[in-house]
Point group: D3
Chain length 229, copies 6
Amino acid sequence: MRPDKRKDNEMRPVTIRRRFLETPSGSVLITAGKTTVLCSASVADELPKWMPKDSAKGWLTAEYRMLPGSTSPRTPRSGTPDGRCTEIQRLIGRSLRAVIDLEKLGPKTVFIDCDVLQADGGTRTLSITGAYVALVDAVNSLQLPESPIFDAAAAVSVGIVGGVPVLDLPYNEDSQAQVDMNLVMTGSGKFIEIQGTGEDAAFSEEELAQLLALGKQGIKELLSLQKNV
Amino acid sequence: MRPDKRKDNEMRPVTIRRRFLETPSGSVLITAGKTTVLCSASVADELPKWMPKDSAKGWLTAEYRMLPGSTSPRTPRSGTPDGRCTEIQRLIGRSLRAVIDLEKLGPKTVFIDCDVLQADGGTRTLSITGAYVALVDAVNSLQLPESPIFDAAAAVSVGIVGGVPVLDLPYNEDSQAQVDMNLVMTGSGKFIEIQGTGEDAAFSEEELAQLLALGKQGIKELLSLQKNV
Amino acid sequence: MRPDKRKDNEMRPVTIRRRFLETPSGSVLITAGKTTVLCSASVADELPKWMPKDSAKGWLTAEYRMLPGSTSPRTPRSGTPDGRCTEIQRLIGRSLRAVIDLEKLGPKTVFIDCDVLQADGGTRTLSITGAYVALVDAVNSLQLPESPIFDAAAAVSVGIVGGVPVLDLPYNEDSQAQVDMNLVMTGSGKFIEIQGTGEDAAFSEEELAQLLALGKQGIKELLSLQKNV
Amino acid sequence: MRPDKRKDNEMRPVTIRRRFLETPSGSVLITAGKTTVLCSASVADELPKWMPKDSAKGWLTAEYRMLPGSTSPRTPRSGTPDGRCTEIQRLIGRSLRAVIDLEKLGPKTVFIDCDVLQADGGTRTLSITGAYVALVDAVNSLQLPESPIFDAAAAVSVGIVGGVPVLDLPYNEDSQAQVDMNLVMTGSGKFIEIQGTGEDAAFSEEELAQLLALGKQGIKELLSLQKNV
Amino acid sequence: MRPDKRKDNEMRPVTIRRRFLETPSGSVLITAGKTTVLCSASVADELPKWMPKDSAKGWLTAEYRMLPGSTSPRTPRSGTPDGRCTEIQRLIGRSLRAVIDLEKLGPKTVFIDCDVLQADGGTRTLSITGAYVALVDAVNSLQLPESPIFDAAAAVSVGIVGGVPVLDLPYNEDSQAQVDMNLVMTGSGKFIEIQGTGEDAAFSEEELAQLLALGKQGIKELLSLQKNV
Amino acid sequence: MRPDKRKDNEMRPVTIRRRFLETPSGSVLITAGKTTVLCSASVADELPKWMPKDSAKGWLTAEYRMLPGSTSPRTPRSGTPDGRCTEIQRLIGRSLRAVIDLEKLGPKTVFIDCDVLQADGGTRTLSITGAYVALVDAVNSLQLPESPIFDAAAAVSVGIVGGVPVLDLPYNEDSQAQVDMNLVMTGSGKFIEIQGTGEDAAFSEEELAQLLALGKQGIKELLSLQKNV
């Protein structure tokens, strides 16, 4: 039995609140259990400096931070993003760029901001799932002739805890997991990203297969929730 | 007539939502019109490095940031707090330290985090008003024999726009104000802080008196709202 | 009786030495008691990056630092300006911009540098009073058809020490003050800036009136001294 | 046919030169085709600050950098590690910590430094493969009663280029890959880390299986080479 | 004939004003022509972190900066010392450590601060000459049983301009010099430091001999002036 | 007798390996005893920002770093170059600019990177000697009509150890030297740079002459070795 009495293949309840704020063109407050992330998508008529000035393609970039009050005890606010933050925001950016056609977007930059208001495990995968919804709203507000978003994207964490593969780990499971894996998949059932780490114990091919199966099921549920909102 | 049809001495509607998050011991979501600030108060059993290690007194410090999505167009996320941020977080800290007895608090540090989710003028004064409520909740959770908080604190902005003294300026008034003033006052009607600036036009003693009167009235309303929640 | 035997409404003796250095077009060494500030004003034919390139208006910006040897014990030299420094240099800049017409200045930037050589209280207000004189010299050296400076500016500190409102606080009074207030006023007797803080004790309206009266008197003396030099 | 005429499942020739330098207790120069990495392992009788001072366990940490001359055109030398660097050095550290028993190591820190002298794809996986050998040399030099290293570790890159799964991608293939995957495995055939990204094209479960098979074969060859040196 | 009509072996007039400020225990304002440097020496009962805590020896360290107004056009204020600053402050520190016995000083740190108020060539050598006087005053104020200063130190610049070796170069000569050399010598006529650079033209042994002769003469004059004040 | 049994005027054996790497157009691995430096020279069709955009002249700049594993115990990797690094890389740049005609080079930038792989004294002088060879290779690869390099450059360290002037100091001598001097000379026997420091003991003119004689002899040997490779 898991600490919060869920079955091994059971997700925490997820809520997605669209248009939480008025300022960003896409604004989503997403929760999974206690984990709460504010996802904003803003579009600017500018390109990053490293792109050619006359590029016809656009760009999508993401930032991820945890607010100091998101954990107990409080997390100190850090000036520059630390290694973990950097990894996560690069993952969010790659994941969403996998479902948007940057040429159809045109010479614009989409900024995704994922600010974790409350952290209880799974912040990076919940950020991706929520940011996708904010991205859709922001892109729709541009009223482009053809939508540059050609597929959905959602993400979930899986892991092996006490030798048992489980779905959607809260902090108390995550901190004891032997294997930790994050999966990002498209609406059409393909993988965008697989990141599996066995710091405390390497994992076999059979375990890998079990984790992938759990993850696919969880992502399916999230994709269906995204559609409903 | 003001742009949002308020009278010169009329505040925007203010809402205060206590216990917005579970992690910090004090968590308040406060709004005034569109301006939305998340105020967290966390207490740690540690002292800042500059205090003597065996101090019997505690400390209270504050941080203030605007989330990138709080404005349109988006505000770039800055590593270190800029000059404006620094000024504001120092003001929040001073204002709340004026109503708490740090000896009664004991050797602890209270961290106040004010994160602006949506900015439409008055973010620093709304931060103080909301942070006071979060501070009360956090201090109560300590279950000290005697409360170290000996007075209330609330803040409001006043200014002269188009030659007319007005109360509680949203962004479109603030950006055109000739004189801009922030007032912080106690529940017992004394001043904690007066910051008045006339960058576009110096102001006379008579105008100062009018601004102080408007501010006192606004703060009275806020203090009463704080009490009710 | 005050520690240095002054009356409550008595200023420390102030000296202003113009053209202290040859390199900056305005260079003033100003002292009040032991406090000594070197104020330089330099003009460049360039605009800050945030202004439109073809702007017809100019800009004035200020920097404030304390040299390491200005205090005993020595103050460590800090790379980036700390919170206090940032606040002060923003105040100096705002105060002087209040008396200069940036359109008449034309597309130039005036840099004000206030370096505290010796610190004994009142460094920020003395910086403003001295920098105004350096600014006049620098602007005169431009030989513009019409002077962009339309009023004088001077500043003084007041405070409540041991329950008594006093004028022009040296360090040993300042460090014990219950209320600390800085006033910046124009030659025509209007307020540019009021910054009053009661960290140790909030202050009443009556006390505010007393402090304003003391400050107005002190600034009058400074304005007359500025005229004489 | 691949640009360098290798078969799809053929590795580039790999050389491992132990004791390249005398100063670090483990020093390996490893090459795969043109890619050249200098791997150093140094051990210090100290613990990172975040560990308890009286910890009986040790730690292993890794740093990764590309020398400016490792690419043509030259890569500017950056002060702080950028996002990519940070990700890679965290991966190297996790991978090696998976095969070392930090309790048996005792309260010491192993520093792994991977400096890329010449970069032609696969620098992160080659770093892991070479650093493992340097780690073994450094740990052996400690002459501990029982070796804390309980398994081998090696890594390889696989990817899908032009629709075809291939092993060990040089730069000209890597920059055109639709899917890019890095695998780290133990000597006993388990996974330490799987990182697969489909930025240009999501990948199916069947493709995932093909990539894993290629990677397992490549790692087997590397493990056997490590043993021989 | 030199631009300012001096002979090739003639120094600019030098003035040394002791006890310019009251706060640092040694405070010297030194000028050579237009070049003006404020030299402060402060002593603290602490040791740098890299020294053993129970060291019986002390340390002397130096910082050098140019104030923004010291040049025309104004020099931007830089957060961290740039390469040139770093070189100069290391030179000042080494030069003064060569004439002080750090064991006799005891476990204290002497901080030398050289702030250039006005720059017209020769700022680094003038800093050393002035800082030596401030150092003597600061050390005397300690009233140690035996003075740790066992020799004098002074410095001068020489160079080859238009093919001619000259003494004490102002900026307009320095910027055109083919060879630039700084000499630091003791009161007993030995070299502490020789730094000669021929960026525009390498120099022969004969030219080196001429420069050394000029420098020795100039330093002799400075040492005699130091004694007189 | 010296610790490594060399005579006072005897150099350590020096090896120079050209074309060590393929990526930079000049790549040299140079060793003197245990000291090992990787010198790279890369040329870019760009100019530093501080040069006029339409300059017909080029520029040469140098960077110097010690890899963490170059010393035992390991040297922490520092983000920004420290004072010593900065001094050394400025010296390398000046020394090589003294033998290249930047007008004949044309509007290009030569980047010299000296990375110390193993440090046992004399890293800065060995860097110059090796970088000169890399520079020649890089410039030759440009196939300019006329070579901009008009002279050779080599460098050596000399010092006084235990009262005796010696040539080419390894770390165990360097750390005990009373006087430390670095000499850079041209192929035609002129001085580019003399940097002599007597931190522990000032030095007389006679000692200076002895050091210069030793240095000239050592540089002669290096210049002849450079020619041979």
